[in-house]
């Protein structure tokens, strides 16, 4: 299961590239919604700023939050939605009976997730610079670990969602879209953790993205003590990544035992 041959991963990535480039729906999904998010939230925060108030950095925080949340969302989607698309097109059986290991299959979706997240971040950053004078590079070198932490969180969320689809079949497919938005209110994308009720704050600190978004706001507000946020986010990510990998492996084994893998892919 743990064997990874780069040529086979490259073969799967080539396939994802072809499928994606031929699907106007998927291209729209990747570009259209993030851009709409950026426009709506950016102009709303511009409006609130124009009303005057005590939050002059509202636009910066919101725009930064939207761009970074899309990193997590894209990484998660690249795994779970790619899996669902293969299911819908009855193509998964051909993949599962070719000499592809589970690790190679998952690795390819990780690579596709990185490519999609980078593309979305680039497009949104350029737009944000023109429309709201928001400079992503103002996060300096922190940009990289913040991005990587959200990417990894997207990966394990996608893996966990796919494991649930393997376990519960088509009835769980809505999770592919719902899971990131279930976490969004808790992980302080658009507001600081301090606005959450006390009990929810405790929950929020167990989510790696919470530390990333708090760290991002800290840097954008001119702070320079982001390391603690990054360390906590990284530790939580490693823990959850290992746990979801074990969970995914267990679900694959269970699906093989119960025959549901054969049922779901045929």
């Amino acid at each position: 299961m743990l064997t990874v041959r780069p040529d086979r991963v490259a073969g799967l990535c080539y396939r994802y590239y072809l499928v994606l480039s031929r699907s106007s729906f998927r291209v729209m999904d990747i570009v259209f919604w993030p851009v709409m998010d950026l426009l709506v939230w950016g102009f709303v925060s511009n409006y609130f700023s124009s009303l005057g108030g005590s939050a002059p950095q509202a636009v910066t925080f919101l725009v930064g939050g939207i761009i970074f949340f899309n990193v997590l969302y894209r990484a998660q989607q690249s795994i779970s939605v790619s899996f669902l698309e293969d299911l819908w097109s009855r193509n998964l059986l051909s993949i599962f009976v070719s000499p592809i290991t589970v690790a190679e299959f998952v690795s390819a979706t990780y690579v596709v997730g990185v490519a999609q997240a980078l593309a979305v971040t680039l497009i949104m950053s350029v737009m944000a610079a023109f429309l709201y004078a928001f400079n992503m590079l103002s996060l300096s070198w922190y940009l990289i670990p913040l991005f990587v932490n959200l990417l990894v969180m997207g990966w394990w969320l996608g893996l966990g969602t796919t494991a649930l689809i393997l376990r519960y079949g088509y009835q769980a497919e809505a999770l592919a879209w719902a899971v990131p938005f279930l976490l969004q209110p808790v992980c302080a994308v658009f507001y600081p953790v301090s606005v959450l009720p006390a009990w929810l704050q405790t929950v929020a600190w167990f989510v790696p993205a919470t530390h990333v978004f708090e760290g991002m706001r800290h840097i954008l507000a001119g702070g320079n003590q982001c390391a603690v946020y990054l360390i906590k986010a990284s530790l939580l990510n490693v823990l959850y990544w290992v746990a979801t990998t074990v969970f995914f492996g267990a679900m694959i084994s269970r699906a093989r035992e119960r025959g549901s893998l054969a049922k779901i892919v045929t």
């Binding site: 064997t3 041959r5 040529d7 086979r8 490259a10 073969g11 799967l12 080539y14 396939r15 072809l18 499928v19 031929r22 699907s23 097109s89 009855r90 193509n91 059986l93 051909s94 993949i95 599962f96 009976v97 070719s98 000499p99 592809i100 290991t101 084994s253 093989r256 035992e257 119960r258 025959g259 893998l261 054969a262 892919v265 045929t266």
Partner: protein, 276 residues
């Protein structure tokens, strides 16, 4: 000859339902074996176990000496699968889909191999056509191209001629027979079309309620069970109206395998004697 597939006392239970119950068989190199039975007889479960998609409840399976679920990559590198019910991404061209699978199977000289197979199955004119726009017959032939990309030693075919018109089905049968003979392929074939089975298979395993109840050449099965054709045998087994009850196969498995080995050798000798 050497065994490509060895199945020993294989059983698979799903909760309380038994899909496969204590079946044993051996398939030798170069054999074309039909796996027959009505819906729910256990043939899909058996094929899925051979493909490593299902783990058995008990028993053992060896393909090329490897376990298909513990050492699946070693097995799948040397085998391939095609089914009428499997699709490839519809929005990719035929050639692109074959290119992807050629990469997954680590095929060298991909372009040449794809050209060769498209030409063999007379679908070279479809190379740039979208896979989703193919007819059933075209799709079946493209799936067979995919199944031969890695020059497999073992081919598992699940109802490859389902939904084909008689003309195309006959052409596909002809091609399969030719390829199997030329390459010495081992083929496991499931079908509900008894013409396919009678024309193609050296040996047939009849499954009923998870057990192998008869095996032998198509002619032997018809004769031993006192029916007039393989189709009549199929119907009689499905309706429990066989005139001669079958002997439990697991007890006479080894002697049957010897008989088949002998018949295959005779066939091979005859074919070698035929003038070119």
């Amino acid at each position: 000859m050497s065994a490509v597939i060895e199945v020993r006392n294989l059983a698979k239970k799903f909760d309380k339902a038994t899909a496969v119950e204590d079946i044993s068989f051996t398939i030798e190199k170069g054999e074309f074996v039909g796996l027959l039975g009505q819906n729910g007889a256990g043939k899909s479960t058996t094929i899925q176990i051979l493909l490593g998609l299902i783990t058995p409840t008990s028993g053992d399976v060896r393909i090329f000496g490897y376990s298909p679920w513990k050492e699946r990559v070693k097995v799948l590198e040397r085998s391939n699968f095609s089914s009428a019910y499997v699709a490839m991404p519809p929005n990719l061209q035929v050639r692109e889909n074959l290119e992807v699978f050629a990469r997954l199977y680590g095929v060298r000289n991909r372009s040449r191999k794809i050209d060769e197979l498209l030409s063999l199955f007379a679908v070279d004119h479809l190379a740039r056509k979208m896979t989703g726009a193919l007819s059933s017959g075209e799709s079946t032939r493209v799936n067979l191209c995919k199944a031969l990309l890695n020059d497999p030693e073992l081919l598992l075919l699940d109802e490859p001629t389902a939904s084909l018109d008689p003309d195309i089905a006959d052409k596909v049968r002809g091609l399969l027979r030719q390829i199997q003979k030329e390459r010495g392929l081992t083929v496991v074939y499931t079908s509900h079309n008894m013409t396919d089975v009678e024309e193609l298979c050296h040996r047939v395993l009849f499954l009923h309620r998870g057990r192998i109840i008869a095996q032998g050449t198509p002619g032997e099965i018809v004769e031993n069970l006192g029916e007039s054709s393989l189709e009549e045998v199929f119907i009689a087994i499905a309706r429990d109206t066989l005139k001669i009850p079958p002997t439990p196969v697991s007890k006479k498995h080894d002697s049957d395998a010897e008989v088949v080995r002998g018949k295959l050798s005779e066939t091979a000798e005859r074919e070698n004697e035929e003038p070119c």
